[in-house]
């Protein structure tokens, strides 16, 4: 939490970076300093630079993984719509480690498992890049701003260079793994289809195709993945917070806040 406080001691409280979600290469010019918490404008700038300098074509579209994308994406077009390339569709996902800490709806709307074309990606590649960065970044804490920037530059560029050198064996290994896994999941899929019956499966398939077609405009369409069971409801507490002692009111209000989270 210290990072969220304006501090007299620190003039930079952290950094934000953007990297390729598949291979984990840092995107040029998008490693930015944070001055007061992780503000949306900081990430906006980083994103714009990443789009510009990695030459994202509007036809490619863009899928952005970000821990708090469910909030970040809401007013994205208001904030930087005029800076984005014309016709670029920005889709949003949350990394598979972070999505479980969100409310249930976020899982169906933002988990990469449900996004067509996202592939099998955890979307947390920067966490592993941070682990190597964290071993060198303390030495830049008291450097000059310029020297620190160049140290971070060197580290990130070196990380990308090493990635490039190792990319062929790494892709070969991943391809082999993916081929094996795809055979395996096909096997599971077939036996599940057999158990459920073709009629139901066709019905589900139609539902999924419809939801996936609509998900960019209305993410709530993805909620069909949720179980249809009634959620166990929390016991309804009498609305005490308008009566009783001050402590009673405070407690029942606090309980209601917790229920609504």
């Amino acid at each position: 939490m210290n990072a969220l406080l304006a501090s007299k001691a620190c003039d930079v409280t952290g950094i934000v970076a953007i990297a390729c979600a598949r291979h984990g290469c840092y995107a040029p010019n998008s490693l930015v300093d944070l001055f007061l918490g992780e503000g949306q404008p900081n990430v906006d700038f980083s994103l714009l630079k990443a789009i510009l300098l990695t030459h994202v074509d509007p036809e490619q579209g863009l899928l952005l993984y970000y821990d708090i994308v469910c909030q970040y994406i809401i007013h994205l077009l208001y904030r930087i719509g005029n800076h984005l390339p014309d016709g670029l569709n920005v889709d949003a996902a949350i990394g598979l480690f972070h999505v479980h800490a969100h409310k249930d709806d976020c899982f169906y709307r933002f988990a990469s498992s449900f996004i067509p074309g996202a592939g099998i990606v955890a979307g947390e590649i920067l966490e592993s890049l941070w682990s190597t960065l964290n071993s060198i970044s303390p030495s830049a804490r008291t450097a000059t701003i310029a020297h620190r920037a160049e140290l971070l530059d060197d580290h990130a560029t070196d990380s990308n260079h090493k990635k490039m050198l190792g990319i062929v064996p790494s892709l070969c290994k991943n391809f082999q793994h993916a081929s094996e896994m795809s055979l395996l999941s096909l096997k599971y899929y077939d036996s599940l289809t057999q158990q459920a019956g073709h009629i139901v499966v066709n019905h589900w398939m139609a539902d999924v195709i419809l939801a996936e077609a609509n998900r960019v405009n209305s993410r709530a369409a993805m909620d069909i993945y949720a179980t249809k069971l009634e959620k166990p409801t929390a016991p309804v507490l009498p609305q005490l917070y308008s009566s009783g002692s001050a402590v009673d009111r405070w407690m029942s209000f606090a309980l209601e806040v917790e229920n609504k989270q």
């Binding site: 210290n2 990072a3 001691a9 620190c10 003039d11 930079v12 409280t13 952290g14 950094i15 934000v16 970076a17 390729c20 979600a21 840092y26 995107a27 040029p28 010019n29 490693l31 930015v32 300093d33 944070l34 001055f35 992780e38 404008p41 900081n42 990430v43 906006d44 700038f45 980083s46 994103l47 630079k49 990443a50 863009l62 952005l64 993984y65 970000y66 909030q71 208001y78 904030r79 990394g95 947390e124 590649i125 920067l126 941070w130 964290n134 970044s137 303390p138 830049a140 804490r141 008291t142 450097a143 000059t144 701003i145 310029a146 920037a149 160049e150 971070l152 530059d153 990130a156 609504k260």
Partner: protein
């Protein structure tokens, strides 16, 4: 496909003087040009999302939540 994330360990301690800053390759790598970034932050459009706690009958002042 991009992934964005913050790192709060890479902070920087305020120095007595900024005069010693000598930029050798500013904007040539992963870190953007400083002036460009700072001026973007100054002119950035911001729109805050409003929590349900601030809506309707609750209307809790923001101060409580930031306390």
């Amino acid at each position: 496909m991009f992934v964005a994330d913050g790192n709060f360990k890479a902070d920087h301690v305020r120095q007595k003087s900024d005069r010693e800053n000598v930029w050798l390759s500013e904007g040539g790598g992963m870190v953007p040009k400083r002036e460009e970034y700072l001026s973007f932050l100054k002119t950035a459009r911001v729109k805050h999302t409003v929590s349900w706690l601030r809506k309707g009958r609750y209307n809790i002042p923001l101060l409580i939540w930031s306390a």
